[in-house]
Symmetry: C2
DNA sequence: CTGGTAATTAACCATATGGTTAGATTAAAC
DNA sequence: GTTTAATCTAACCATATGGTTAATTACCAG
């Protein structure tokens, strides 16, 4: 083994890997322990139960996925520069952890309550709501067409995230190998910007 | 109980419900039996194992999701009429079983092999590949701009499907109740067509 | 009605799984 | 060096879970 890091983190790393891959229901405590190279009892020693451990991993994941979005959305620049910036940096961000979106979306669907509760705790993502207002403003000032800000946000998100969530399906149907798929995603940054621009440019 | 349908179908119905809701790993045979109102042993009597039963449900689900797409894509009409037709009928179709896409996508991610193998069996969805060629043709004939047919298909799919997959997340973040969400999805049909048109109209 | 087949069930089995415990080991405090 | 607390492990436990079986019931042809 390379490093001798503290056990707590070792467990979290392992749990992340297993939970993200298999989901809450599919993950086995033993697998997490094996992945971390420690005894199964340690998991409970440090994190009491599977659910508690999952909650930590899940919250971090959700923070990454949504938090990243908030960060990107709140970069201070005019809207027409912002769109390509959002697209590029969000896709690049997701590419570093391509399975996170599927994991997060699936688990939210599985237990919406847990997610909704977390929303109350963590606040309502002011960055995102601010972005919506920004769109409305830009519309009024004729920088862009007046479009529904929700639909615009949803469009950007859909175009960016869906290809990751549906990757095996897309690759399977369109018969793309990994290289082709990555090239396609690289192109896609430009395409998404084009599509959005075509729609909102005044 | 209302109906006295044959047990085989009763089981499949119940299995569909439970598998789609909880996924393969999260579903319990006992829950399926309860849902069908029969003894657990019947499940094995008719369908041998959990995996076999799942396969049936999964294949039907995948058939619905992809098959429907193929049907819609192959409606014979000029491309500029086809886009809104695709959007409308695909969204309406998915609305009837809103949890199918998440289920299918998630399980494909969980076991890509099973899916890829099924692709080989069932053929390569000629309807879909035909649609791609159609796009290229329409581009050459200047009915629309020359765009990557794959990107176009992926755009339409992303815009239509993602909101269903991400529904609880979207509702949670944007604070939409069910009524507002449904209104938004109704609007969305028009929006998606607008967006795509803005991009491809020559 | 009767013999036989298919459908159905209750009880059971083996194993997997989340979780616990009692004791060992390590490391730090004194 | 001894004591004490934190860390770690092997073995164990209770229950859940997929799957089986032996026996019972429903059904239908003769």
């Amino acid at each position: 083994m390379a490093q001798e890091r503290n056990t707590e983190e070792l467990i979290i790393e392992a749990a992340k890997k297993i939970f993200v891959k298999r989901g809450l229901a599919g993950a086995r405590m033993q697998d997490i322990a094996d992945e971390a190279g420690i005894n199964k009892a340690m998991l409970h020693y440090y994190y009491r139960s599977k659910d508690k451990l999952f909650e930590i991993v899940f919250n971090e994941a959700i923070g990454k996925v949504i938090g990243r979005l908030g960060t990107v959305l709140s970069q201070p620049m005019p809207i027409l520069e912002k769109v390509p910036a959002i697209v590029e940096s969000y896709i690049d961000g997701v590419m570093e952890a391509p399975y996170l979106p599927m994991f997060v979306l699936n688990e939210i669907n599985q237990q919406p309550e847990m997610f909704l509760q977390r929303l109350k705790t963590q606040g309502n993502f002011p960055n995102i709501l601010l972005f919506l207002k920004e769109i409305v403003e830009a519309g009024k000032q004729r920088q862009i067409k007046e479009v529904s800000p929700i639909q615009l946000l949803l469009n950007i998100l859909s175009l960016c995230v869906f290809p990751f969530v549906a990757r095996p399906m897309v690759q399977g149907i369109l018969q793309l190998d990994n290289v082709q798929y990555n090239m396609m995603m690289e192109d896609r940054k430009k395409v998404i910007t084009e599509v959005i621009f075509a729609w909102i440019k005044a």
